[in-house]
């Protein structure tokens, strides 16, 4: 470590163990790192890597049963041995935390102003006017447009991005110099994320903050941080200057992490998805579809989808993208009648999907299969994996009775799962495995079209890459048509050959990825595209996927 920078946080040989029913589980193993003053330090890792655990240990926010060994010092004060009074003084006053979900970390019954000044009231015991002044000036610092008015707003009156900015304000109100941000933008839309990241960069300069940011998203981390650390299975496997780690990673895992990013996949597989189909009849056609909730026409409370039209051509991978509230899931759920259209129509092979009855309906549902976002929740928790896949085969008599068991095994093989998993229950397998089971179950129906609703959003990036590869291969082998709904524009750009962009219930535009991502003339599309976090330039030479 160079001497010109003072060390703000020093973590030495920290191991964290949780006692469980099945014996102690080590969540963090021998992790050491130093963070200098005024540094932006990033910790990246997938779920279960221990990245949040280690940061919670710095402020001793772990449950009492957690056993922490090693040494943690903040400005040369030993955190692990500190008594509670002193600790309380430091929390919120020297070190503050920002959490992932702003909605659940703000008290719904307190105004934003009160919550921001609460730390000051607790630590400094100031009077009402001073507190209000502090809240207003903090809101100004976190770029609220009308701080004097918004100081009295309640959380539900603010958007997600404003709530996150208010939470950052609360963290800063007592002049904390160290901020630990645990996935601060994961729950936010990509344009809002860009806004928050920008704010963090500005605040760091203005206030001389030291910031630790924890994220699963290498793009976010590399945009912000001076130095990054990569964690896997509780171990810190690599750390260094951001460019060094990203451009010349030393560890295989870091390389995999980088290569799993859609932009990296795109660089190495330019001909991955094939050209879009231009001629012929669409397999699914959405014609002027509107979906209202809570009433009809003028009385509608929520216009979830309004006057949307697009076609899905046979053999295409159509990406439907948009931020939360854009109506992208709502419209694709209507394709199989999980939502009811208020007006307009959706045609499958030229026939309105609402008019299928009896045997025709079953046949239609077999041809158009849907896969959902949370794989574990879309499997009956009481069924074994085998039963989950077997059920449609049995019920719809897709294969003769004596062929069912072998067909289940074939399907497992198709989605690259080991037959050992057949006897397990959904909660005993990983998210990625469960999503493969869902794909196998959909394939059991021998579909023509698969509607995938945010199927990789709940998964780690390396698993996402595997699932996307799997789907692409299956599409090639079986001639599937895929409707892929996601908020992740980078995935769409890599994976789809036709893109539908939606915003608050309306269709913005449709086109090929090139049209959308490179030459779009729509403001909203360009803002979305600009907000995608990227790795630093020069990536293409660096990794070896």
């Amino acid at each position: 470590m160079s001497d010109e920078h003072k060390i703000a946080i020093r973590v030495r040989d920290v191991s964290i163990t949780f006692p469980t029913e099945d014996g102690p589980v080590t969540a963090v193993k021998n992790v050491s790192f130093d963070i200098r003053e005024n540094e932006f330090f990033g910790i990246v890792g997938e779920s279960g890597s221990g990245k949040s655990t280690v940061c919670r240990a710095i402020t001793r926010l772990l449950p009492d049963r957690a056993e922490v060994t090693g040494e943690i010092t903040v400005h040369a004060q030993k955190m692990l041995e500190m008594d509670l009074d002193r600790l309380r003084d430091i929390r919120g006053n020297g070190i503050s935390m920002i959490f992932q979900n702003p909605s659940s970390h703000l008290n719904p019954l307190m105004t934003i102003g009160d919550q921001i000044s609460e730390t000051a009231r607790f630590h400094y015991k100031r009077n009402r006017e001073e507190l209000n002044e502090l809240a207003v000036s903090t809101l100004k610092d976190v770029r609220f447009s009308n701080p004097e008015g918004q100081v009295n707003a309640y959380p539900h009156q603010l958007s997600g991005g404003m709530k996150q900015r208010a939470m950052i304000g609360a963290a800063l109100a007592c002049d904390s110099k160290i901020i630990i941000a645990d996935e601060p933008t994961t729950a936010l839309d990509v344009t809002v994320q860009a806004e928050i990241l920008d704010l963090l960069i500005k605040l760091r300069q203005e206030r001389g903050l030291t910031i630790i940011i924890i994220s699963h998203d290498l793009g976010v981390i590399s945009q912000l941080c001076d130095r990054i650390a990569v964690m896997k299975d509780g171990e810190l496997i690599e750390q260094g200057r951001t460019e060094e780690v990203i451009l010349s990673p030393k560890e295989d895992y870091t390389r995999t992490l980088i290569a799993s990013r859609p932009e990296a996949i795109r660089l190495h597989n330019s001909a991955w998805k094939g050209e879009p189909t231009e001629s012929g009849n669409p397999v699914l056609a959405v014609n002027r579809a509107s979906i209202y909730f809570g009433g009809q026409g003028r009385n509608a409370v929520v216009k979830a989808v309004e006057d949307v039209s697009f076609d899905v051509m046979r053999g295409d991978i159509v990406g439907v993208v948009g931020e939360s509230g854009s109506g992208k899931s709502t419209i694709v759920r209507a394709m199989i009648n999980l939502n009811t259209l208020s007006s307009g129509e959706i045609l499958y092979d030229g026939r309105d999907v609402r008019n299928f009855k009896g045997a025709e309906r079953v046949n239609f549902l077999r041809k158009v299969q849907m896969i959902f976002q949370h794989p574990q929740e879309s499997l009956d928790p009481r069924f074994s994996i085998e039963q989950c896949i077997m059920e449609p085969l049995k019920l719809h008599k897709i294969v003769p009775k004596d062929r069912i068991a072998s067909r289940v095994r074939e399907l497992m093989e198709m989605v690259e799962l080991s037959p050992d998993l057949l006897t397990r229950r959904p909660r005993d397998i990983s998210g990625g495995q469960a999503q493969r089971v869902c794909i196998a179950r959909a394939l059991a129906m021998e579909p023509e079209v698969i509607i995938a609703d945010e199927i990789t959003s709940a998964l780690d990036v390396t698993i996402q890459a595997q699932i996307l590869r799997l789907l692409t291969r299956l599409k090639e082998q079986m001639g599937l048509t895929i409707v892929f709904v996601t908020h992740d524009l980078d995935v769409v750009r890599t994976f789809c050959n036709r893109v539908v962009v939606m915003q608050i219930g309306k269709l913005i535009e449709t086109g090929t990825p090139q049209q959308i991502f490179e030459t779009s003339s729509h403001d909203y599309t360009r803002r979305l595209v600009a907000a995608i976090p990227h790795l630093p330039q020069g990536l293409s030479q660096s990794e070896t996927a």
Binding site: L338, R366, M370, L379, L395
Partner: protein
């Protein structure tokens, strides 16, 4: 197929109290089955030469005002009370679960009708309503069962309805729709097994209350009728002799107490066992 899979780890960690409850309850079931073998006397045999005798080797728990052997009557009483508990439990459970499923799964008028019926029922205190129904139908065990069927389904329906509403939101129910499964099939195969656990747990705890209320009715002269050897009736019988012949009320009371405690412990343990880790 093991729809209500009980995790083995939970079995190994069974709390001691659950085992106590299990042993007590099943001991009483054994007693009920074996009553004719175990009982030294005919429970209804009147013996005027042995009125109100205190507990002795001849009459382990003494005799009552008609010279009937209390021990034999307590053994036979287990049959009546357990029967009462089981029937009085299953009928409302089945009705409640069925109505709860319907009202949770099908919104609209089905739900409205069932919920209004439920509101009307819970507007009255439980025992008052049961007493009123029994009074109208005439005293007796069968009236008690009818009253329970009309009143005791309410908590099950509410529990199941709430669960169904939750489960209905989950993706795996949406998945059954997209897989083209019919709604009756989905309801029985996927919704019911995932909704019934809280109702079953409540039922095991409710078992002891059904018996206690049944005995209370017997005590009030509205339940099982004399000379049936039912514990509540026996406790009421001994009331007048409490100062001179305590054993007439004491031993049936003790029996009721042990069965009650046993069933309650069993209920608590079952609740822990059936909790599915999600």
């Amino acid at each position: 197929m093991n729809a209500l899979a009980i995790p083995m780890r939970a079995v190994r960690q069974l709390p001691g109290l659950f085992i106590v409850g299990f042993v007590i309850t099943f001991a009483w079931i054994a007693v009920a089955i074996l009553a004719p073998v175990l009982a030294p006397y005919d429970p209804d045999a009147i013996a005027f030469d042995a009125l109100l005798t205190a507990p002795s080797p001849d009459h382990l728990m003494g005799t009552d005002q008609l010279g009937r052997d209390i021990f034999s009557r307590v053994l036979y009483g287990a049959r009546v009370d357990l029967f009462m508990g089981v029937v009085g439990l299953i009928v409302p459970l089945v009705i409640g679960v069925f109505l709860g499923l319907l009202s949770g799964y099908f919104v609209g008028w089905t739900d409205t009708i069932i919920m209004r019926a439920l509101d009307i029922t819970i507007a009255f205190p439980f025992l008052v309503l049961v007493l009123a129904i029994v009074a109208v139908l005439g005293p007796g065990l069968s009236s008690y069962f009818v009253a329970l069927a009309l009143v005791a389904w309410v908590p099950y329906a509410r529990l199941v309805r709430g669960q169904v509403k939750l489960i209905k939101q989950t993706d795996f129910i949406a998945a059954t729709t997209s897989l083209g499964f019919g709604s009756t099939y989905t309801l029985i195969r996927h919704v019911l097994p995932n909704c019934i656990v809280p109702a079953l747990v409540f039922a095991v705890t409710d078992f002891v209350l059904i018996i206690l209320y049944g005995s209370s009715l017997g005590f009030l002269g509205m339940g099982a009728q004399p000379p049936t050897a039912e514990w509540g009736v026996m406790i009421a019988d001994g009331q007048t002799y409490l100062s001179t012949a305590w054993w007439i009320s004491f031993f049936p009371g003790l029996a009721l107490l042990t069965l009650g405690v046993g069933a309650a412990l069993l209920g608590d343990g079952t609740a822990k066992l059936m909790r599915v880790e999600r």
